[in-house]
């Protein structure tokens, strides 16, 4: 607890914690001291001098944003002298500010304008100066007009703190200017387009291109909801004018949201959206009405069920719907149709292995962004944070600024690995050996928590299995010296507040086990492991039971008793239900009807040509989605889906926090839950809800809010490390991994329909090559290449990626044809693919796309 001190501000006495800045203390006392360069989330620089105040007994004026309070301090924020000084600075700024508030978008929200008005400055007493810089309108996201810049430096500081650290002051004659290196446009300077700079700019120097001349500040309606992209689940505030989104911001201006959150929402307004139900007539999808479409779907499904039984029908959904939609969808299939054949994209994004991890660690696997920011050692395993889960990346950057040490295990370089204290670049697919090696080193260096491990029943067994693994084997498999593993173990072991972060869709279930072991071996069972999740409601989708084998509450299908039967008022199927790949396997034989919501299996599932064939053998396919996906194109009926920006409900983010989703726009389509409920009604299983709130109530009655369960006994997960991907060989000499990129997302469905896509070469349809590999294949950037795997081949463009090691190729997950190459081998128990590695061959040529 910090000590309290008493200060008097404008005659008001107030107690504040020691170390509080004067400007903060004043705020607590309800006094707003004008400020331009100060920003709550950034280090003070005391540069604009607008916040000057008088301190009794002091010599001159002091900058209240840079000075901490002292006990007994008497501060005056509004004396003649203070006002004079403030006026002088503001007049100087205004005389260098050739702006016209009439046509400036910042009008009404501009700090300079506000303070000038408050001081009654009509005209500056200095002659006007116009820097005459060109306005940068070269990207469709951020307009930069440095003629209006007041050099407060907030953008520079926040870019350093959570952006790509690419802008700084440069001296231009007598005064300075904010610029990128060499004053290049942002898109050529490595900008993340997180827009953090824009969010903190106090004037109109940086504005969203989207809102230029589209609406004034005071006309905007604000709706707080959740970003529909990654699992970070950032809270977004949409500002709309006349039902059109003007901009997306964080709740507080300095909250980090990434390019996808800030600029990637425009897919919502895409002309490619499906707005009317479509029914296939003579092979052509034809516009129809909800009434007719629902009727057709109901009749066909009833027919299939009658002839072939309920288990001839299956459902599959994405992991980006609200809890309410996920719950209703699985309820419809389980109770309405009577099958447990329900699965979701979660199967491909880390589940159900993650359920085991949560059970093994409980609280240990519940970590907040704040925890990350306050950690002293972070261990990253296969987690390209800034591309895949950008908000976590921003928190790690903050932690680094706070002095945290970072160890990265990743075969390729990432934005964070460049900032890390140690980057282990093992042979691809050898992570399990690396993690085992770290466990061995922790033991050898005596960095384990003996008191804790004694309480774990199977410690001896665990240790024995580790002892059985030779260091030489580890070095051979990982092509990494054990010295690095020792260093990693030391850095991690000697930390106090350590967190292991990993990409849930990028590590094997075995690796997850080893990660849990590292936390347990060091006795770190509180907020120590953070699985980074790719999709906005991955956790909720599972928790609502949209995963074969699991009912709501992540209850195993064979252990549910009568709870669900009672509330759903139907007998429930005995079978565990087919997982996604099992459904595909059986399409045309035992699976004949499919209902897909918000997912594109035909493009996304591994070995997609085979998947497409399977889907074409179905008797009936209904797809409910926002865009006409590859799967939707094959459907008999297509129902319009709603985006998250048009939905109400809840989602659960990777911090395990339930967040409220609120519609910011009039939906272009019926809410997804209504469509599902309408269909169910037609099939004689009534699901009557007046709103999603009522669904939420039903969920609550069935699924108790996950309690913090104190765990007393922990068990190590005994793992025999192995490589599970395809080893490159003579015929397929290259290894290929699929991963996220900064401006693409998952299946690319949304980013492809957003302006963001212009920031990725070919909208993300490329393959990345190590420059040396490219040279040996005589490939240049942009060349067409033919890439083949055991499953199929695709033609795509070449992109040079210095971040890749030799022999490794990279393909963005948003690549339209990424499914063609991947192997559909699944783990026999988890029923999900456990490998990232695809062996491929490369040849020059083929028609470029």
């Amino acid at each position: 607890m910090s000590d309290q001190v008493t200060v008097t501000i404008n005659g008001k006495e107030i107690k504040v914690p020691e170390g509080t800045l004067i400007i903060q203390a004043a705020k607590m006392a309800g006094i707003d001291i004008p400020h331009l360069c100060y920003c709550e989330c950034l280090p003070s620089t005391g540069s604009c001098r607008v916040c000057l105040v008088e301190v009794e007994g002091g010599k001159g004026l002091v900058a209240s944003c840079a000075q901490k309070v002292k006990n007994g301090m008497v501060v005056d924020t509004d004396t003649e002298k203070v006002r004079e000084a403030r006026r002088f600075v503001l007049e100087l700024i205004l005389s260098n500010h050739p702006g016209d508030c009439m046509s400036c978008d910042k009008n009404g929200a501009c700090d300079l304008q506000k303070y000038a008005y408050e001081l009654g400055i009509e005209k500056t007493s200095f002659s006007m100066k116009d820097p005459g810089y060109d306005v940068d309108r070269s990207n469709p996201f951020i307009e930069r007009n440095y003629n209006l810049c007041i050099l407060c430096g907030r953008c520079v500081r926040i870019c350093k703190q959570q952006g790509a650290d690419i802008i700084d002051f440069v001296k231009r004659g007598m005064v300075t200017k904010v610029a990128t290196p060499m004053d290049r446009p942002l898109q050529e300077s490595g900008c993340d387009f997180c827009g953090s700079c824009l969010a903190v700019c106090p004037v109109g120097a940086l504005v969203e291109v989207d809102r230029r001349f589209c609406g004034r500040e005071w006309e905007m309606k604000e709706t707080k909801t959740v970003c529909s992209y990654c699992g970070c689940g950032c809270e977004l505030v949409f500002s709309t004018v006349d039902g059109q989104i003007m901009r997306a911001t964080g709740e507080v201006s300095c909250d980090y949201i990434c390019s996808k959150g800030r600029f990637g929402w425009d897919f919502v307004e895409s002309s490619e959206r499906i707005t009317k139900p479509l029914i296939k007539k003579d092979g052509v999808l034809t516009e129809s009405t909800y009434e007719e479409a629902i009727k057709v779907v109901a009749e066909r499904l009833i027919d299939i069920k009658k002839k072939h039984g309920a288990n001839s029908i299956g459902g599959f959904m994405g992991a980006g719907n609200t809890n309410e939609v996920a719950y209703l969808f699985q309820k419809f299939l389980r109770a309405g149709i009577g099958t447990n054949n329900i699965d979701s994209s979660a199967r491909f994004l880390g589940f159900p292995a993650l359920i085991d991890l949560y059970e093994a660690l409980r609280d240990g696997a519940v970590v907040s962004m704040k925890d990350v920011e306050e950690a002293d050692v972070l261990l990253l395993v296969n987690a390209d944070l800034t591309a895949s889960y950008p908000r976590v990346g921003a928190s790690v950057k903050k932690a680094i600024l706070n002095g945290a040490k970072v160890v990265v295990i990743d075969s390729k370089k990432t934005e964070i690995s460049e900032l890390a204290d140690l980057h282990i670049e093992p042979q691809v697919d050898s992570e399990e050996f690396v993690l085992s090696g770290i466990l061995k080193e922790l033991l050898e260096e005596n960095l384990h928590d003996e008191k804790f491990t004694k309480k774990c029943k199977n410690f001896d067994e665990f240790k024995k299995s580790l002892d059985g693994l030779k260091v030489e084997t580890i070095e051979k498999e990982t092509k990494t010296s054990k010295d690095f593993l020792k260093e990693a173990a030391k850095l991690y072991g000697e930390g106090k507040k350590t967190i292991i972060l990993f990409g849930a869709e990028t590590v094997s279930s075995q690796s997850m086990g080893l990660i849990a072991d590292i936390a347990l071996l060091t006795g770190r069972t509180k907020a120590s492991v953070l699985p980074c999740l790719l999709s906005s409601n991955l956790r909720g989708t599972i928790y609502m039971g949209a995963l074969a084998g699991f009912y709501p509450g992540a209850r195993r299908a064979n252990e549910i008793g009568n709870d669900f039967k009672k509330i759903w008022e139907r007998d429930l199927p005995d079978e565990m239900g087919l997982s996604a790949m099992e459904m595909v396997e059986n399409m045309g034989s035992s699976v004949l009807g499919m209902y897909i919501v918000g997912a594109d299996p035909v493009a996304q599932f591994p070995n997609s040509s085979k998947v497409a064939k399977a889907f074409s053998s179905l008797d009936f396919l209904v797809v409910q989605d926002v865009f006409l996906t590859e799967t939707a194109k094959m459907a008999d009926v297509v129902l319009p889906g709603a985006t998250l920006a048009e939905s109400n409900g809840t989602v659960v983010n990777l911090e395990y926090q339930t967040k409220e989703v609120k519609a910011a726009l009039e939906p272009l389509a019926k809410p997804d839950w209504e469509t599902i409920a309408d269909l169910s009604e037609r099939m004689d299983y009534t699901m009557e809800y007046s709103s999603e709130k009522e669904i939420a109530k039903e969920i609550k009655s069935l699924v108790p809010i996950p309690k913090k369960i104190e765990k007393n006994t922990y068990d190590f997960i005994v793992v025999k490390p192995k490589k599970s991907g395809e080893e490159p060989d003579g015929k397929y000499p290259y290894a290929l991994i699929v991963g996220e990129t900064s401006f693409g997302f998952y299946d690319g469905q949304r980013t492809r329909n957003s302006k963001l896509s212009i920031l990725e070469l070919n909208k993300g349809n490329y393959a990345g090559f190590n420059p040396e590999d490219a040279e040996s294949l005589s490939l240049k950037e942009g060349d067409a290449v033919l890439i083949s795997s055991r499953r199929g081949k695709i033609t795509t463009s070449v992109k040079m990626l210095g971040s890749l090691p030799k022999g490794l190729l990279f393909m963005p997950s948003c690549h339209e044809e990424r499914g063609v190459l991947a192997s559909d081998n699944v783990d026999s128990k988890l029923k999900s693919p456990q490998h990232r590695l695809i062996a491929v061959s490369v040849s020059k040529g083929g028609a470029s796309k």
Partner: protein
């Protein structure tokens, strides 16, 4: 160029040196304020100063002393303020009379023919390519002899006449 003792020029050069070498640009009043003062001083050395300029300089420098972030900026402003109060006359001379007694401020130097010395030989008028010199050769006993005289508006300070005048009648003032 050396300032040669002209207080205005010394101040200007001091400020320019300050912005080049010392000023960090980290606080607005110092950065923008010195830029302004340089503007004003440059104006004065060009003979374009206005009477309010001294007040303006006084104001800016005292405000910088109050508001600047560090001692460097404050010290620079103190220097200006001292110069203003110690050499007020010189500033006023530059502004009101457009005259630099120390002959440092090139832009307000005037070529002037001293009638006491001039012998009316006419050599300067011949070499002046700007037709800036008017006057007629002296004709004895005539009462309306036109004396030689340099029209400062036309004169470019090229100095050619200076070189040809044998009696050093052309002076820079």
């Amino acid at each position: 160029m050396s300032a040669n003792g002209c207080s205005v020029m010394i101040t200007l050069e001091f400020l320019k040196g300050f912005t080049k070498d010392k000023m960090c640009g980290k606080c607005l009043p110092c950065m923008l304020g010195t830029e302004r003062m340089v503007d004003v001083l440059e104006r004065i050395t060009k003979g374009e100063g206005e009477e309010e300029d001294v007040v303006l300089l006084e104001e800016i420098s005292s405000h910088i002393i109050d508001t600047a972030r560090c001692k460097l900026g404050k010290d620079a402003a103190v220097f200006i303020k001292d110069s203003l109060s110690s050499y007020k006359g010189e500033y006023e001379e530059h502004i009101k009379e457009k005259h630099c007694a120390q002959k440092s401020c090139e832009d307000i130097l005037n070529y002037w023919i001293n009638p006491e010395k001039c012998t009316s030989c006419g050599a300067c008028k011949v070499v002046c390519s700007e037709d800036a010199i008017v006057g007629d050769k002296m004709i004895p006993y005539l009462s309306d002899n036109k004396p030689y005289y340099i029209k400062s508006k036309k004169c470019t300070n090229c100095g050619k006449c200076l070189a040809v005048c044998e009696v050093d009648a052309i002076e820079i003032v």
